[in-house]
Symmetry: D2
Subunit: 347 residues, 4 copies
């Protein structure tokens, strides 16, 4: 059941391993008649794709989704929508030793505990960040439809390597090469990434996402609230270790009189992040995700040999991102799109 | 679907409104033969119950669960376990005006949007914190069984009104009247609550929860990871606006070489919070929840009259907690117990 | 997970044992604003209630549902709807021996295998036909709403003790004391029941159900088709061992040219039973259920003592129906109502 | 949600249309370490594949599954298992007119109602029997594992064109070209198929399935009983219009004293079909499916033009089976395998 998200209306099944024939997704429950613009989708996917710049892994993949079914003449046809993305540029030999000597901060060790040696460990297998490519296919298709319905979703980096960009999020940053509002902060963040890379290390950060245009009254109390659903989806992104809505953790330091949003609601005072009682208020939905520093680093680390039980020094050789945060920005938008589409798309 | 949690093995249905005949829960999928100790359960429930001290609402409820079915001679019998907690001390008249003039920070407004006037608005209806009472019945039953299996769950306050307790969490604090490790910090926090109360205001905080004894290898990648499931449950607690695991948001400021936990794993270096790739590592599971300041405050607030559309000044009269955080501590333990039990209890 | 039905929009949780404090149900996902007429509901429940006539168990229960929550001023309020029916007239001692010596045709034996002695065996515990009382509460509430929306559901007996009533089902028979269209056949069936009763035996039969007024286009292909959902619900009724739609098993003997319903569709030629590809055609939905003869009979039967492994002759003493079929008729309507409401009620 | 089966442990997602790039399946929740023998799988799939004999459609497909992911060195690796079967021999032009003039007995009309013209109507689209190919991939993989665990599943035709084979089902018939126990009856059935084909018509039948070796104590009461789950899966097979367990519909004509299986249970007296209270008894699970006559017939039929509303005479030109029943036999085994695997395979 692990890799299927069952929402209220939509189901999303992700499949594939980093080095299997392909990774892919099946999106079920989509209404018929949703247009899919392949070029706009590709533009979206390219924001996540690797090998485009200094801060991402040199593994270069075309990331071109091949739609197997569910589309007819450019529109969804009511049947499940399945897309594959072929894995071409794989280098299995880099990973040969990792089955015995797990990488710190990765799922190598827990995969071994759970799958008892049968797991596909190459490139992280099913745990790889590569699975966010089909997640973005699903999200990208839904973003197109949401935009048609007046719902806009945009994410940006608000913190990286300890550098915070506190400027207001007034316009999307998806056109920028590095998705940060304040260009001065962006430069400092890029310096921090470059420094970490030079030292064989990595950095993490925080991504903020805003959903505009969702009317009030969507969602539910308790286990199916908007927060619950976004959180359930967001923790499917590898490296995400925290989520907060509206004023979030910093709101805990406020008094109730400060944290409560007075009526009538205004986007300028939206500590609730657009959600009260699990239900949308009509204000923008705002959430932030904590993305840990890439666990794959060039620096030598302490590990153990699972076969012998002896400690071993591990130097990871493959190709990796010194900072996963920029590439995760469209993934966060994808996750938000899935959550919102599940609320409003009526089959 | 909103008020049913469907886990892998367990399902939990919560029902009731603040002022309905009763609130209650049905726990389905429990193995037969689990002993339920009603006295230990009552001790657990009393930690959440209102009306016991200065910082909680004067609404006093016995919070005695009445088991309707699913128990036979003190053991679960394989059938769904249903318990009711009667609502006795209700004062509906306090809430008469709130249907028209929603309380800031509450779900009054979103309930109106979604249920179009049919909602039970008294005391927050189904959105009330009172629903955490049956949540604690479910969690309390499961905590007893987990303890028999060597799994211990404990939560505490680590931050309140901006006052942080950074001391290590070495021993449970459930015996303390105020669940904080450092007694000096506890005193300062209590002062802050008292000050807020005097001023007709409220404060929020952060609760940390630790799960000891869960072996490695439980959980799943993607949407059914331990983080996903705990998050999905945790956001069912009213007032929770954020969650982080292990080093969480502060881990984003670390380098990969600092944030990665070296092997062999040790509780002293557990930035992963016991979870890698959604699967338990064998280290303690550690998470923290952001609990917003109680939205119900005595201070006059700006609201609108939903009928007339005119602005109105609102003064909330009912009985409320100046700080919900201490009472939420056992609720967090309950949520953790449900998540863990769902991982390990095989029907 | 066993006792929760998760539909697309509605969830139904049934709980209770034959001799527990109460049996009950929680219906979640109901739209707010649905009126519940308690008197009409009681009339519906009385059709299922025991102790009213010669062919049902003398166990007499009031079967008055007590609504715990989810109703406000006679309308659903958007929160889960929970109702209890108290178990008053229980006679536990009748069942003392059955834990060791299972009744043929009952779940005593399989409950022992699955719950290892912890099951509540009295009166069949959670497996008892008594659980159809809360099922009828859920169905009865939904039937009222469906009727308001122009959807009518009616069931009748078409076969009993080998006696078939092949007359067309033109008008409901819920006003009749014995729900059969042809009064002559009804008399013969009643005779057969009386004969079986005299001989300490029991008889079975077939119930037909028709759903009028469901527009075309509801349902889905594959696993979520209307047939799948009705079947999944129908087999929750104890004693049901078969289901067929439209021409069903007898349609297998027809040629395609005979079995195909020509367009335009007409109720007179509805071999599809109103469903093609899992989706409603707009014609009446028609299905039939096989209800086995009541397994509880007075005649001595062969059993084994599960403790000793020795064969034993068993004479069941409790109070039982010589024929469960008439009382199952409203239960079938309830099941149909749940399936249809799940298709059309948008929260 | 329609094309995903969510069981207790396994999830199965089917995707594809008759004439899309491929049809396929994703099986999620499989334990790691299950061996997949591709040759044995192909033998199984060939029993369903078209174009092999007189009674099936001349559309010839290789039906070779291409495993995209989830396998590592011949064993499942814990990640979702996805397989595609390419659609090669498609002839879309045969179907051009059917979008306007729906075929009686098919889902053309209901697909139009539900998907408003966006559906892929070619070859029945997502409603096509071709989707049973990936269903058989899932079932075939599971059958291999069940066999290793001592569970055997076998199906046969017991009725076709009104000709019944009542002989006991003692040995599998999967090696026979026509899966019927009694060779004399088989010959008569084949004659009936040939006669129907000559007349441009089709015939239906009944398939019986037996599951041997499932221990007692699996399953659950109410909505998750074995009957419920098998039924939910079985109605995903196009053309299935009924299901019965054990003595089924004919058991309704028996007295309780005849229909009850005495203890100790014996396969010779298994009217319960191996299930009591939704839970396995340890006896063979026995069920029968009603398969309607193939709706695609060469004979001219009455239809309507959906665009003009005018009646039209329709002659279907494509390639079709005069009898789908023999090819459905392995599909029924596949469905049974999925249901049983979901009961016993612990991830």
């Amino acid at each position: 059941m692990s890799s299927i998200y069952q929402g209220r209306r939509l189901s999303l099944s992700l499949f594939g391993q980093s080095h299997s024939e392909a990774v892919g997704m099946t999106l079920d429950g989509l209404p018929a008649g949703i247009a899919v613009d392949p070029e706009a989708l590709q533009v979206f996917l390219n924001r996540r794709a690797p090998g485009r710049n200094d801060w991402s892994t040199p593994r270069r993949e075309e990331d071109r989704p091949e739609f197997i079914c569910g589309l007819k003449d450019g529109y969804t046809c009511g049947a499940p929508l399945t897309a594959l993305i072929r894995n071409r540029n794989t280098r299995g030999k880099d990973y040969a030793r990792l089955k015995e000597v797990p990488r710190p901060g990765h799922a190598d060790y827990t995969a071994q505990l759970r799958f008892r040696g049968y797991q596909d460990h190459e490139g992280g297998g099913h745990f790889s960040g590569r699975l966010t490519a089909p997640l973005c296919v699903a999200g990208g298709v839904l973003l197109q439809e949401l935009e048609r319905r007046g719902i806009g979703i945009r994410a940006r980096i608000t913190r990286l390597a300890g550098i915070a960009d506190l400027s207001p999020f007034e316009t999307p940053v998806d056109q920028k090469p590095f998705p940060v509002t304040d260009d001065g902060k962006a430069a400092a963040m890029l310096d921090a990434i470059a420094a970490a890379k030079r030292e064989g290390d990595s950095v993490g950060g925080v991504i903020e996402c805003v959903i505009d245009g969702l009317p009030g009254g969507y969602g539910a109390p308790m286990f199916d609230g908007i927060e619950n659903q976004i959180a359930r989806l967001a923790f499917a992104i590898p490296a995400v270790k925290g989520i907060e809505f509206g004023s979030g953790f910093s709101g805990c330091d406020l008094r109730g009189s400060e944290n409560n949003d007075p009526f009538p609601l205004r986007p300028e005072h939206n500590n609730a992040g657009g959600i009260l009682g699990g239900i949308s208020t009509g204000m923008p939905i705002v959430f932030r995700l904590a993305v840990k520093p890439t666990p794959s680093i060039a620096k030598t680390q302490n590990s153990v040999n699972l076969r012998t039980g002896e400690p071993e020094r591990l130097q990871i050789e493959g190709r990796h991102d010194p900072c996963i945060v920029p590439r995760a920005v469209p993934v966060v938008e994808a996750v938000a799109a899935i959550a919102v589409a599940d609320l409003i798309l009526e089959e």
